[in-house]
């Protein structure tokens, strides 16, 4: 084993590609704004600079470790430079910290505190730039941008979109859509991954908290909450619970305290999706038309396909997403009661996703003229609402969801992770319904963090070729292969966000490696602990089906094209 010396600590060099990773391995949290292990090296913030034993300075993110190297991460000079760099960033940054949406979570703020910047010796002469509110999903405030480029690289490298990029030179440099266009006029799909990596509030979630409070206050509204599968395992750690823990029960209780009239589980909607999508898949397999079948749960993916590969939109399942199937069912369920009581059912969907905010406005997700989901708030927003009320979330007693939409299968619960939709559909389609069948599907190759996964599953005499991708760049690569005739599949699951909804654009940040693993483990545990694992075993489905859906499947559960 070869070593290098970091601040006097001997650190073994394994497969680290840069000194920064080695420094972190040595237990030193070297500051950086622009380094992300799953993005290309950018090297612009200069916060991670180190000094070698000859006094040479370099950025540790872009230097390869060499055996025998001796470096220092915290010399007086480096401390002084880090302070000055933060001061320079603040000199061109809006400093209304107390009223900023990122207050308390801002990396610039926390590093300024950490390196000890107590005064900024420069006045901010920067011209104020307009805030881009054109997107339904995210807000772009260039006045808070520190130009680390994380969003640019995320959008182009991970998502293959490139809706934003750098423009202008020197201190006039900006990150903006091409030609200064509004975000809504670009190829942006609203996935919110740019907001996830943004260290400040330069890109943030478009918040709808006020609308929800207004609805709760309105006596004429029956406010119904539905909670998406990936929310429950991401909400707890902001209140001191362990990362990845299933806090569904506490969340249900919190929502009731806040004044929601009904609290339901989106997993019920996911069970409906499993049934409808499996039926559609079986039909397409029979007819051989429009294969492969692409999943339709992820609105960012659907938009991406429409933008970039319109010729493949016919391959996308006509099923609505679980949320958008569930909402009309809820409205139908209360239709009569609403009439009697002179109320109106108001669907609030609590989602890990920013793109859902745009999905609900799509006319193909409406039933007639009726917008089925009234508002979407993200996990981050529900956390903010809980804090506003002052609920001690961590101490709440768990409660169950309201009937009749309180029960769902384990298959539905894993919709929030890459491969989950596929797994649930396969469980439904599998002629065998025992533990072995579940294990076979689990180990078929559709689980795991690889960006592109393939599996072949045989049911009877039919072998199904399946691909699972997450991250839109991976989706794009796959489609190019399909177009080129290099790949042939029957079923393709696509999720816009890497690892699926557990790392969605609306989830609490930061999402470091430990958080990622904990959320993944957490969501599989929900499935593991479910009393029913197969959608077709959900006893509530039949009842709802017969009462509400039967004969209206296409109106309520499918996108009206």
């Amino acid at each position: 084993m070869e070593y290098m010396t970091i601040d006097g600590i001997k650190v073994p060099i394994e497969d680290e590609k840069n000194i920064l990773s080695l420094i972190r391995k040595a237990g030193i949290d070297i500051p950086t704004f622009c380094y992300h292990s799953d993005l290309s090296i950018y090297g612009a913030c200069r916060m991670c600079m180190v000094e070698d034993d000859r006094g040479r300075m370099f950025a540790s993110c872009s230097e390869q470790p060499r055996p025998g190297m001796v470096i220092h991460t915290n010399t007086k000079k480096l401390q002084q430079y880090r302070k000055l760099i933060i001061e320079l960033l603040l000199s061109a940054h809006c400093r209304d910290c107390t009223t900023c949406t990122k207050n308390g979570m801002c990396e610039l703020q926390s590093l300024a505190y950490r390196v000890g910047v107590h005064a900024v010796r420069f006045t901010n002469n920067k011209e104020e730039l307009p805030i881009d509110m054109s997107s339904n999903c995210i807000v772009r405030d260039p006045n808070k941008c520190i130009l680390c480029g994380d969003c640019v690289r995320t959008c182009s490298e991970n998502q293959g979109i490139g809706a934003i990029d750098f423009a202008h030179r020197g201190s006039k440099m900006q990150i903006t859509p091409a030609f200064g266009a509004n975000l809504c006029d670009t190829d942006c799909v609203g996935c919110g991954q740019c907001a996830v990596v943004c260290p400040t509030a330069a890109i943030s979630i478009r918040t709808n908290v006020t609308e929800v409070w207004d609805a709760i206050e309105d006596p004429k509204k029956r406010v119904v909450a539905q909670i998406a599968p990936a929310v429950r395992i991401a909400v707890g750690d902001k209140f001191g619970l362990p990362k990845g823990v299933n806090a569904m029960g506490k969340l249900v209780k919190a929502l009731r305290i806040m004044g929601f009239d009904e609290v339901y589980d989106t997993n019920f909607g996911a069970d409906l999706t499993v049934m409808e999508e499996s039926k559609e898949f079986a039909e397409r397999l029979k007819s051989g038309e429009n294969l492969p079948l692409f999943t339709s749960c992820c609105p960012a993916w659907v938009k991406f396909c429409e933008n970039r590969y319109p010729e493949f939109t016919k391959n996308i399942s006509t099923c609505r997403s679980p949320m958008s199937m569930f909402s009309p069912v809820i409205k139908e369920y209360f239709a009569e009661k609403d009439k009697e009581e002179g109320k109106e059912t108001y669907n609030v969907a609590i989602m890990p996703c920013t793109a859902k905010k745009a999905e609900i406005l799509r006319t193909d997700n409406c039933t007639g003229d009726r917008q089925d989901t009234d508002i979407v708030i993200t996990t981050q927003e529900i956390i903010r609402m809980i804090r506003q009320v002052g609920i001690k979330f961590e101490n709440l007693e768990s409660e169950a969801c309201d009937m009749p939409f309180s029960m769902a299968s384990g298959g539905a619960s894993i919709f929030g992770i890459t491969g989950g939709v596929t797994e649930a559909v396969l469980r439904y389609m599998s002629p065998e319904k025992d533990h072995t069948a579940i294990e076979n599907i689990k180990y078929s190759g559709i689980r795991g963090k690889a960006g592109f996964k393939e599996a072949s599953v045989t049911f009877g005499d039919r072998t199904l070729n399946i691909a699972v991708v997450h991250g839109l760049k991976n989706a794009s690569d796959l489609i190019e292969d399909i177009k080129a005739g290099k790949a042939h599949y029957d079923f393709v699951e696509v999720m816009a966000c890497r690892r699926g909804c557990i790392l969605g654009g609306g989830q609490p940040v930061p999402m470091g490696p430990a958080t990622r693993t904990a959320r993944m483990d957490g969501i599989y545990q929900v499935d593991q602990l479910s009393s029913i694992r197969y959608t077709d075993e959900n006893p509530l489905i039949d009842h709802i089906w017969n009462d509400i859906i039967k004969g209206r499947e296409h109106e309520l559960l499918h996108r009206n094209m």
Binding site: G43, L84, S91, F122, F166, R169, G170
Partner: protein, 626 residues
């Protein structure tokens, strides 16, 4: 020209080209560099063509039909370098150099010189009462050593035959048929040719590194993105002798087994672009670029890529990104350009002047090259000399020549007999040299030791009337505008420095700001991402070191001793000297001066815009700037 298929074909065309030039009774070379063209040399060319009965659009042909009836050849040449005196016309075989020529002078030149071989005395250069008929004897040229620029001004720049007649592609011929690629690299390596673009990195070492990469697709890139204010060395080579540079690139390509190359040239050099296009097209026609060059089996294609004028694209990784169609921003290194350059492939990236050095080194060998210049910086260097100097222009001298020789012997001294104050060398990335540095040899290492750099070779001469704080502000403004904006120190740091400098020249500076300026400068130098950023603060740091008293004067006394900083200067009329003629009041554009005739006038300081028109026009010297 017919495609040349072998070495013999090339020799034959070269013989014909030489014969053609030698067969001319008279060659009229009209400078068509950017400076002289702006001075109207195109009209001179057309007039001369019509007087001599030459068709300006005619292609060169050999053989009996080629002989002009009178043996007169009118050619558009590249820049002679003596730009102060342009438009220039050189007439061979007499070697007369006519200066400041106008179209009206053409008849006399034709009658006196072309027909009768006599000089037109009034158009010759004279200095201190001595008239110099021969170009080579003019002090400006006599003290130079023009090797890279040898042909600039002496050959037609738009005909490959002209280049061939003056040894063009001879070195390529030698490399292709007498040397292995490794031998070529060894010669360049042994010559210790150092990159003329600024860094002074060893060219041969670069080539060696590219040659040993496992990846076999390699590229040759020429950096013609000369962006320093006041620098035009590379432009002159591209405009005046494009084939020399192309030949250098071909030799580099042969040495490292590359088959494709790019010339990155700024779009602000339209003439260079057009001459390069012509040169490449002619070399392609002749089979000197393309497949199986001269039957040697070696193939090479060359493209021109126009830059949009960003200074930062002179930085290697920004330049390659720009060619790839990306935003011109430097990236972190490693990997270096020699490993992963253009399109991620190993790339030889040198500048124009460096490539133009290659053919003569191949022809004469590395030992010969070491006889020129200094031990560690062999060869010559071209400098663009501008500012407050009598002979503005382009010169080439051996490395190690002193500033004193350049300014006083070649440059003819400071304009208006003023005192020399400083020279900004190496453009906005360089540093300031002062009178005590006049005898420092100009080479890579001596300058580095002085906190300056040779850069691409811009020399901006400043006299005693130059305010060094304003100079620093000017360069900082340039750097800030040209910063790509990627790394924090360069993007924000240079802006904060500029604001402080603006405060100082505007009379709002404080002593604390002076310290902050230095703190910022040192931090930017240590922490910036690329060469542009690392050197951005050099003009400020070097002037701050040498002229700190001037900075302090601006801050403490709110005074600019040169009167350059308007906010700090004021004009006053001496009541003792003023005769009350009212001329100042009549010249004042804002009506700030009033008084009664024949009694002293006064200036209303609240209205004065400090233009200096009053002082310039006062017949009694009664108005002083303070």
């Amino acid at each position: 020209m017919n495609r040349l298929k072998s070495r013999e074909d090339l020799s034959e065309v070269r013989r014909l080209s030489e014969e053609r030039v030698e067969g001319m009774r008279c060659r009229i070379l009209i400078c068509a560099g950017t400076g002289c063209l702006a001075g109207g040399s195109q009209k001179i060319y057309e007039k001369m063509c019509s007087l001599c009965g030459n068709d300006p659009d005619a292609e060169i042909v050999f053989g009996p039909e080629a002989a002009h009836k009178d043996g007169i050849d009118v050619e558009k040449s590249g820049c002679h370098g003596f730009c102060e005196m342009g438009p220039l016309v050189r007439i061979e075989p007499y070697n007369y150099l006519y200066i400041k020529v106008k179209p009206e002078d053409c008849d006399e030149i034709y009658n006196t010189t072309v027909l009768n071989g006599k000089p037109v005395e009034r158009l010759l250069y004279s200095m201190n009462g001595v008239t110099y008929p021969a170009q080579e004897e003019i002090p400006f040229y006599a003290k130079q050593m023009r090797l890279v620029l040898k042909n600039c001004g002496h050959i037609g720049a738009e005909h490959i035959e002209e280049s061939l007649a003056f040894d063009g592609y001879k070195a390529l011929e030698k490399a292709l048929f007498e040397m292995t690629p490794d031998e070529v690299i060894d010669v360049i390596y042994d010559s210790n040719l150092r990159g003329r673009g600024g860094g002074g990195f060893q060219t041969g070492y670069k080539w060696k590194q590219v040659a040993r990469q496992a990846e076999t697709t390699r590229y040759i890139v020429c950096n013609g993105d000369e962006g320093d204010p006041g620098a035009f060395m590379d432009r002159s080579v591209m405009e005046g002798d494009p084939h020399k540079m192309i030949e250098g690139m071909l030799i580099a390509a042969y040495a490292v087994s590359a088959h494709e190359g790019y010339i990155y040239v700024r779009a602000e050099y339209p003439l260079a672009v057009s001459r390069l296009k012509i040169a490449i097209a002619q070399a392609e026609d002749a089979g000197l670029i393309g497949d199986d060059i001269l039957g040697s089996g070696f193939s090479f294609r060359l493209h021109i890529n126009k830059g949009a004028g960003a200074f930062v694209c002179g930085e290697g990784s920004a330049l390659t990104a720009s060619i790839e169609g990306e935003r011109g921003m430097p990236r972190t290194k490693p990997p270096r350009t020699v490993e992963q350059g253009l399109f991620g492939k190993p790339t030889v990236l040198n500048n124009v002047e460096t490539y133009a050095n290659v053919p003569m080194i191949i022809m004469n060998g590395s030992d010969w090259y070491h006889t020129i210049g200094t031990e560690k910086s062999p060869g010559t260097k071209a400098f663009a000399v501008t500012g407050s100097i009598n002979n503005t222009g382009l010169i080439e001298v051996p490395m190690g020549t002193t500033l004193r020789e350049i300014i006083y012997d070649i440059g003819g001294g400071i304009k208006g007999g003023k005192n020399f104050k400083a020279v900004q060398i190496g453009g906005p990335s360089g540093g300031c040299l002062i009178s005590s540095d006049l005898d420092v040899p100009l080479d890579f290492d001596s300058l580095k030791a002085k906190g300056a750099m040779i850069g691409s070779g811009g020399l901006v001469i400043m006299d005693e009337d130059t305010c060094m704080v304003e100079v620093a502000r000017f360069f900082m403004n340039f750097t800030q505008n040209e910063s790509c904006g990627k790394c924090v120190p360069c993007r924000e740091g240079t802006m904060r420095m500029l604001e402080i400098l603006e405060d100082i020249v505007g009379g709002r500076g404080t002593m604390e700001q002076l310290d902050l300026l230095e703190e910022l400068g040192l931090a930017i130098t240590d922490t910036a991402l690329c060469g542009l950023g690392k050197s951005a603060a050099l003009p400020v740091l070097s002037t701050l070191r040498v002229f700190r008293d001037e900075y302090e004067e601006h801050v403490k006394e709110k005074k600019c001793r040169t009167g350059t900083c308007k906010a700090l200067s004021s004009f006053t009329i001496s009541p003792d000297l003023c005769k009350g003629c009212s001329k100042c009041a009549r010249n004042c554009p804002v009506g700030a001066i009033s008084g009664e005739l024949k009694s002293p006038f006064t200036i209303d300081q609240s209205k004065c815009i400090k233009c200096g028109a009053c002082a310039d026009n006062c017949p009694f010297g009664a108005i002083s700037r303070g």
